[in-house]
């Protein structure tokens, strides 16, 4: 099976373990991910903070290239890129004049035919049904699923999950055998694009998130966004300073959790690249649950 794929800059650089785990899981389950030829950066926070047309044109060029390449579905694991892409698609399909203008700016025609999937939608549609037959281990740990902002908001455009207490990641983690906890910071902001330019804010916002998760006994945070991951993982010193104590709860990508359950090598999942060491191990071997077969005879008699 072939699906379009947009890695984005983070997944090719500072968050390459996310890409590695997405690729490893896809390969294991026989899914081929085809990158958009000659893709460019989506513009991220910088573009939409400074110039609206630029912030629509950079994603639009990628979407147009994907259409040109004959792709119909596009997997975008980075929650930030996903948000820029979905917002662009929404704006252009609802604003004819802007659509024309952007086509002129990028020198290409974007039609708006692509289906854009975030990583959870990708998992729900193409992975979850294959888990039972392929799982080697149960992730028998207490985890806190952290959604952050961009997967669930703005709900009007994304139309994805409940904004205040989303469940989609929790469902996946439960399927993997994890105990996903209820907690208070599921959709609070981590500090996002201010990692470098306003690190104290990130220390405070991410600090509260990690504190609540660890306080409630989570052995790991599970995320689906490279921006959340690098804030929560790399900015741990600023967070520890805010909390006044050291917290060593690791942060893993949901695709790394799936990879661990599938028995994929830890290095292949990039687990060695984290700043906060991921010590999770001793997983319980997975035994496929017996499928209860209905008594067909009785059914027939009735």
């Amino acid at each position: 099976m072939k699906l379009g794929f947009y890695p984005g800059c983070s997944l090719e650089g500072a968050s390459r373990e996310y890409n590695e785990s997405v690729q490893a899981v896809a390969e294991k389950l026989g899914i081929e991910l085809v990158s958009i030829p000659d893709w460019n950066c989506c513009g991220a926070t910088a573009a939409h903070n400074l110039d609206k047309e630029l912030s629509l044109s950079l994603p639009a060029r990628n979407l147009a290239l994907a259409e040109e390449a004959g792709l119909t579905e596009l997997v975008v694991p980075c929650a930030a890129c996903y948000s820029r892409f979905t917002v662009t698609q929404h704006e252009l399909l609802h604003d004819n004049a802007m659509h024309k203008k952007v086509n002129e700016i990028i020198g290409k025609e974007y039609k708006g035919t692509l289906r854009i999937l975030n990583v959870i939608q990708f998992i729900e549609e193409y992975i979850i049904d294959k888990l039972e037959d392929n799982m080697k281990f149960e992730i028998n740990k207490k985890v806190a699923c952290y959604y952050g902002c961009l997967l669930v908001r703005p709900n009007k455009i994304l139309n994805f999950d409940r904004t205040e207490d989303p469940q989609t990641m929790d469902v996946v983690m439960k399927k993997l055998g994890a105990d996903s906890i209820d907690w208070a910071f599921k959709t609070e902001c981590c500090g996002a694009g201010f990692s470098v330019s306003f690190t104290e804010a990130v220390g405070r916002l991410s600090g509260k998130i990690i504190e609540d998760a660890s306080h409630r006994g989570a052995e790991a945070l599970v995320v689906a966004c490279p921006m959340c991951h690098s804030n929560l993982d790399m900015r741990r010193p600023a967070m520890d300073k805010y909390n006044g104590k050291k917290i060593d709860t690791p942060v893993i990508y949901i695709t790394q959790a799936i990879g661990l359950a599938l028995g994929i090598d830890r290095k292949k999942l990039g687990l060695n690249r984290h700043f906060v060491p991921v010590k999770l191990d001793n997983f319980k071997p997975y035994v496929k649950k017996e499928v209860v077969v209905e008594n067909t005879q009785i059914m027939e008699e009735i």
Binding site: G13, A44, L54, I105
Partner: protein, 189 residues
Amino acid sequence: MSNPHHTEDNSLAGKVQKHTGVKVSRCYQCGKCSAGCPVSSDMDFPPSLLIRKLQTGFPKHEEEVLRSKSIWFCLTCEMCIARCPMEVDIPPMIDYLRGESMRLNKANPAAKNIIRFHKAFLNSIQKTGRLYEMGLIVDYKSRSLNMVQDVVLAPSMFAKGKLKILPELIKDRKNIKQIFQKTLKNKHK
């Protein structure tokens, strides 16, 4: 007499509505946005007050909005719109206000680092088509005086394979250049 409905609304609120479709008059000042905003405490005035200032339409208030820290500290986390009972879409409004604030040279000095970072980021994309993180850090650090913290992180990022030495260059860089020329460059001289 001219029909008031057909005159161009030159207030900042009018421009916001024209460019983003956001009607600040819908806000009834319940304050939910400010209560949920993760950076309210860093702002000089929280989102609901930003809106109130636009509602009055007083030139003094509009000036305060354009010169505020608030518009730059907003993280576009979208919490405000998620909770607003009147669906006042604050984040795109703030995007627009940032653009205006830059264009009119009114950006708050406290936002210096944030703007430098955005510029260094876009600069990187403009040249190569993709983000070159190492280049970004060097460029940003040379634009800001905030030298220490990330230079400390860089070697360990590098050791973990998280920083590339060379930038990735996309093929059609002319296309990217053209996109910048027709958008950002066009407006900011």
